[in-house]
Amino acid sequence: MTRNNDPALLVMASLAEGDKHGYAMMEDIAAFAGVKLGPGTLYGAITRLEENGWIAPVPSDDRRQPYTLTALGRRLLEKELEALQSVVKTALTRLRNA
């Protein structure tokens, strides 16, 4: 399972938009999350996600390997984001009422 601040969650969030290769993921994550993932961290996350069957490589002739979210990965991401959304909603409500 991923944690909210886990590079794996960021990678899955990036792939939720569509298939991407490593560099495109890094650029996308930097744009939407403001987090600059290094190549070592990115591929650590990709390795773990692929091992768990949450993402999969897409056949390609390019040296840049694109990845896609699997059905299992999509379900997990939805579950994680719902949990995250619940935390964000509760925290915001509490902040407003404080």
Partner: protein, 381 residues
């Protein structure tokens, strides 16, 4: 920077090297990127190891750290010289203070080239103060018999310095040297082994705990049993008291060994031992069991050996019996050949053996269970 990929496990490289290389061609090469790749490679190496391999790896790292520490901290050596002195302990203390005056110690430091590494950093005054406070010791050994000892990291300088201090002491009236300064030995010898042992145990524990977070449930069970086995083997031995042995050798220069044996029998009679035990606050059965005086070398020498739970007490009792034996045998000429030594390492218990056995059992259990683990993508099958 792209060469850093070689740090990744082979199985990982076979799967990801091509695309990872393509990514590296796109990113800006900075030291932060290089550090990130290095850190990623190390994590992947750890993840790719079978859990049981982490145990010896971390144990080796622990030992390597301990060896580095031991090598970085030079051995300490000690030499001692025995002397007889009239007067009480306070009087001997005063004599020792004279010998350890700043000018005389400063002269010794310069002549013997002591404290080479600190000489340029610390003032001579501070060095003499440190030498007096930490490295020289005057201690009672038996009635009117004392030892002056010096410790440093150069064995030959240690012996020469002790001899200088002893000769300086012997220039006082009523002080008689009993022999030259002993060869320098390492005190306490076992501390290096302790550091290595703790390095090993620490490394092993680190390996087991790291493995716990990368392994399967069955491995966790094995690691748990391994640790339990190790602790069960090691802990009880740390509650067993150390036993130290000190011995003195007396030469029978002339006279009948039978007369010496008679004195030995008299000194070790139950009544005398009871009296000595009371005087010296020692348990009488312990004294009877651990004091051994015997004639050896075809009747030419006597060995006085005593074992105790305190090393100084072991030396004191052995020295006292040696001195009483010499003084109480009028029909033979006895000469002290080797004064009672101050033991530097306990003779009992041998804690290393059960610790090693415990480690062996723990590691073997971990290896057998670890080998049953399923292969994964990051680990060569």
């Amino acid at each position: 920077m792209r060469r850093l990929v070689l740090l990744y496990p082979k199985a990982w490289r076979e799967r990801y090297a091509r695309e990872f290389d393509a990514l590296l061609a796109d990113v800006q090469p900075t030291w932060r990127t290089a550090l990130d790749i290095f850190s990623g490679a190390m994590k992947m190496q750890i993840q790719s190891l079978r859990p049981w391999m982490l145990v010896p790896l971390c144990a080796a790292l622990g030992i390597a750290s301990a060896i580095t520490y031991v090598v970085a901290n030079p051995s300490r050596y000690e030499s001692q010289a025995l002397f007889k002195a009239d007067g009480d302990v306070d009087h001997v203390g005063e004599l020792a203070q004279e010998v350890m005056s700043r000018p005389s110690l400063a002269l010794i430091i310069v002549r013997e080239n002591l404290y080479k590494t600190q000489y340029n950093r610390i003032s001579l005054e501070e060095l003499t103060e440190r030498m007096k406070r930490e490295d020289i010791q005057v201690r009672p050994v038996a009635d009117h018999t004392y030892a002056i000892a010096f410790q440093s990291d150069d064995p030959s300088a240690v012996q020469r310095t002790t001899q200088r201090l002893a000769v300086a002491l012997a220039q006082n009236q009523g002080v008689q040297l009993l022999g030259p300064a002993s060869p320098a030995v390492r005190p306490p010898n076992s501390y290096r082994w302790r550091i290595l042992f703790f390095g090993l145990v620490f490394g092993l524990a680190a390996g087991v705990f790291t493995a716990l977070f990368t392994g399967l449930q069955v491995w966790k069970l094995a690691a748990g049993f391994g640790i339990a086995g190790l602790l069960l083997a090691v802990i009880p031995w740390y509650f067993v008291d150390d036993v130290w042995s000190s011995s003195a050798v007396i030469g029978i220069r002339s006279g009948n060994p039978a007369a010496v044996q008679k004195t030995i029998d008299d000194l070790t009679s139950l009544a005398r031992l009871k009296m000595f035990a009371k005087d010296w606050a020692i348990d009488e059965p312990w004294l009877r069991e651990n004091l051994h005086i015997r004639i050896f070398a075809k009747g030419q020498a006597v060995l006085v050996q005593y074992r105790h739970k305190n090393n100084q007490k072991a030396q004191q009792v052995a020295a006292k019996f040696a001195s009483m034996l010499i003084d109480s045998t009028p029909d033979a000429t006895l000469k002290l050949l080797d004064p009672a030594s101050l033991p530097y390492a306990p003779i009992y218990p041998n804690r290393a053996m059960p610790a090693l056995l415990g480690l062996l059992v723990g590691v073997t259990g971990a290896i057998i269970t670890g080998m049953r683990r399923r292969p994964t993508l990051t680990r060569a099958s």
